[in-house]
Chain length 345, copies 3
Amino acid sequence: MASVRLSELAELVGGELVGDGDLEILRVAAIDEARQGEITFLVNPKYAALLDQTDASAVIVFPGVEVEGLSLIVCQNPYLAFAKILTRLQAERPAPQGVMEGARVAPSATLGKDVTIYPGCVVGENVTIGAGTILYPNVVLYDDVVMGADCIVHAGCVVREGCRLGDRVILQPSAVIGSDGFGFAPDGAKYFKIPQVGIVEIEDDVEVGASTCIDRAALGVTRVKRGVKLDNLVQIAHNVSVGEDTVMAALVGIAGSTEVGTHCTFGGQAGTAGHIKIGDNVTIGGKGGVSNSVGPNQVLSGLPVMPHKEWLKASMSFSKLPEIRKDVNRLKRQIDELEMKLKER
Amino acid sequence: MASVRLSELAELVGGELVGDGDLEILRVAAIDEARQGEITFLVNPKYAALLDQTDASAVIVFPGVEVEGLSLIVCQNPYLAFAKILTRLQAERPAPQGVMEGARVAPSATLGKDVTIYPGCVVGENVTIGAGTILYPNVVLYDDVVMGADCIVHAGCVVREGCRLGDRVILQPSAVIGSDGFGFAPDGAKYFKIPQVGIVEIEDDVEVGASTCIDRAALGVTRVKRGVKLDNLVQIAHNVSVGEDTVMAALVGIAGSTEVGTHCTFGGQAGTAGHIKIGDNVTIGGKGGVSNSVGPNQVLSGLPVMPHKEWLKASMSFSKLPEIRKDVNRLKRQIDELEMKLKER
Amino acid sequence: MASVRLSELAELVGGELVGDGDLEILRVAAIDEARQGEITFLVNPKYAALLDQTDASAVIVFPGVEVEGLSLIVCQNPYLAFAKILTRLQAERPAPQGVMEGARVAPSATLGKDVTIYPGCVVGENVTIGAGTILYPNVVLYDDVVMGADCIVHAGCVVREGCRLGDRVILQPSAVIGSDGFGFAPDGAKYFKIPQVGIVEIEDDVEVGASTCIDRAALGVTRVKRGVKLDNLVQIAHNVSVGEDTVMAALVGIAGSTEVGTHCTFGGQAGTAGHIKIGDNVTIGGKGGVSNSVGPNQVLSGLPVMPHKEWLKASMSFSKLPEIRKDVNRLKRQIDELEMKLKER
C-alpha cells in the first residue's frame, strides 16, 4: 500500500494544512482506533475528548477546532473530506482481466476497453458493456442489455433483457434489474398475467443495494435517475420513476407507477402507494407510509404520513390513549351529575 | 415481429370490432405513446381526452365509449383484453435450446421434451423437469426437485432438495424455494436447530417474485396453491399454506404455520403472525399487521388490523391526539371549577 | 435410512423410557401424520386428544402425561428432545466430494480436510475454508475470505472480500455477506460514496436466512456474534453488532452502527434506528420500531416502541379515537352550557 503526503491530501480536499505537510499517511481510521501513520476525522463534537488519546498522525477537523500535538486538515466539510481521502488511499482499481476463463460471452456482445468479466458470468446476445466495467463472478446479463463505462457489478446480480445502465453504476451482490412488474388482469376469480414488455433505465452514478429489485415497466420504462442511492432489499415496482439524488434506506417499497421527486430521503421500511407523486426534497421517516401524493420540501412520518413534528407529538400521546378514554368516560359521568344537580335546584 | 389483423384480435378477446378489421397491428402501447400500427386501451375514463391526440391505429374500450377516426375493439373488460392482446403480440416463446454448453445436469435427471437449460445451471440427482420448461443461467436445482411443464425459471433462482413445482410456474430472478424454515428449540440461553425435513409444493400457474423466499416445512409441506401471485421480496415461512388465487405485494411476510385463504389480497409490507388462519376473500391493506385469525370477506388495515373504514377514520383522528389530550385536561379543570362553584352556593 | 432403537433415543435426550425400548424408530412425524415406525411429540396440550388416534409407535411427552398403548419418552423439554431426535434420525451428512468439476478455486486458497465445493462455485485468492465445510453450487467467495469448519453455504450465496466466518455457520441460499455499507457524504445536492473498507465477522453457530444481507463496516467490523439466528430477508447495516443468541425474524432491519444485546428477539418486520443501543434480553414485537436506545430485560412494541402491555392497551383504544373525539367535542359544548347556566343564575 502506497502512502500519500499530508499536504497532498489537504490540497485534494481544499482544506487548510496545519502542521507537518510531509507526514506520510497510509490509512484512514476511526478516532478510537487510529495509529501512527493514519489520519482520522472529527465530525461529531462529542468525540472531541478522544483526540487527546488518539495515536493518529493527523486529523480532519472543522474550522475553530484546536488540537495540540497533531497535524490538522481544517475544512468546512470534514465528513466529505474523509470520504475523499479514504477514496484516494484505497487500493487502486485492480488491473483489468478481460474475459476470464469460465465466463460465457455471446459472440454478438460488444465489450469496451479494459473490461473484466469473472468466471461464471453469462453475457447474452447483443449486450454492450462500456470500458472499465467489472462483472464479478456469476453475474447474468440477458440479451440486449446496455451497460456504461466503469460500472461495478457484484457477484450474482441479474440484469434482464433490454435494460440499460449508465456510467459508474454500482450493483451490490444479487441485485435484480428488470424482473417482471407485478401486473395481472382479473379474469373472474383468476388472474391473467400482463406481459411486462418495458425496460429499466438506470442513469449514471446510481448505486443499487444487495438483493434490491427494480422491476421492468409493463409498457415503457422504469426509471432510476442520476445519482440515486438505494440500500439493500429495496423494491422499485414497474413504471416507477425515482428522481435524481434520491436516497432510500433498506426494505423500502415503492409501488407501481409512482413518481418520486429529486433529492428525497426515505427511512428504512418506508413505503408508498402506487400511482402517486412525491415532490422534490421530501423526507419520509422510517416505516412511514405514503398513501396519497405529497408536495415538495416536507418531512413526513406515520401511517398515513403527516408532518413529522405532528407525528412525533401524536406518537407521544398514543400510549396515553387508554387513560384519555377513561378520563372522557369519567367526565361524561361528572357532567351528567352536574346537569342533574342543576336541574334539581 | 409479425403483425396480427385487428379482426383476429377482436375475436381473440371476444370483443366487438368497430372500424377496419384489416388493420395490421404490431404492438400494444400506452395511450400517450402509441403510434401508427399500434393498439392502445382506455381503462380509466380520466384519460379519455388523450384519445383525440393519439397516433394509435386502434383502441380497446368499454361499451359506450365513442372515438372518432379510430378503429375500436369494444368489450366488457378492456384491461383483460389488453393483457390478452399483448400476450398474443409478444415475441413467440424462443425455440428450445436443450441443455446448453456450460450447464451441468446430473445423469439421473429426467428432462421433458423441448426444455432449455442455460449455461451455469446445476441440476441435481433425480430431478424431473417437464416439457418446455426454461431454466435461465445459473439456476440451481438440488436433488429430487420435481418441476412441471412450461415453467420459466429466471437466472439465479435456487430450488432446494425435494421441492415440487407444478406447470406454468414462473420464478423471477433469485427467488429461493425450499430454504430451511426458521425453527430452533431453546436449550437454556442457546438455540438448537430443528432440522427442516419437509418440502415446498407450488401448484400450477403460480408466479414468485424476485428474491422472494419460500421456506420448506419443518415436517410436512409448505404449500402455495394454484394461481397464487407473489411479488418481490416476500417471505413465506415454513408450514404456511397460501390459498388459490391469493395475491401478495412486495415485502409481505407470512409467519410460520399460518393458513391464508383463497383469493386474498395483501398490500405491500403487510404481515401476519404465525399459527393463525385468514379466511377467503380477505384484503389486508399495505403495512397491515394481522395478529389473530380473521374470518372471510373483509377489508382490514392497521396494526393490529381492524375494518379498513374504521382504521381510516381512526387514522384521520390520530394527529389530533395531542389536542384531544389538552382538551380533556382543560375539561377536567373546568368541571372541577364547576363542581366547586356548585358546592359554594 | 437406518432406524434407531427407542432406548437409544431416550438416552440421547436424557428422557425416561416408558414402554418398549427395542422399538426401531425410522422417522419423526407430526402427531396427525405419524405412522408405524415413527415417533411424534406432544408439546401443546390442546393436541393431546390426537394421541388416541395416532399410528405413531412412540411419543415424546412432558412428565405427567399418560398415553395408553404407546411407548413414551418422558422429558422436561419435549420440543428440544424432538429437535435432537430429528437431528439424530436425519440422513447422515453426505460424504465429502472435494472440489467438483466446474468449481473454480484460486491456487492460493487453503482448503481443509473433507470440504465439498460444488460446480459453479468461485473461490478467490487467499481464501481459507475449514474442514468439512460444504459450498453448494454457484457460491462466490471473494479474495481473502476466511471460513471455519463444518459450515454449510447454500447455493447462490456471496461472501465479499476479507469477511470472516466461524465454525458451523449456515448460510441459506442467496445470503449476501460483506456488501458495501450504505454510506455517502453530502456534497451539495449530490452524494459522494464513502468507501466501505471494513469487514463482516460472523462467529460460530450463526445461521443466516435466505437473501439476508449483512453489510461490511465503513471502517472496522460489522459483527454477528455466536449463536445468532437471522431469518430470511433481514438487513444488517454497516458497523452493527448483534449480541450472542439473538434471534431476528424475517424482514427485520437494523440500521448502521446500532449495537444489539445478547439474547434479544425481534419479531418480523421490526426495525431500529442507527447509532443506538439495545440492551440484553429485549424482545421487540413484530413491526416494532426502535428509535432510541433501550435498556435490558424488556418486551416492547409499537412505533416508536413502548412497553408491550401499554402498547396492547393503547392499540385496543385506537379504533375508538373518532368516538373519543366526538365525545370530547360534546363535552365541551355541555360544559359551555353548564357554565352559561351558572352565570345566568
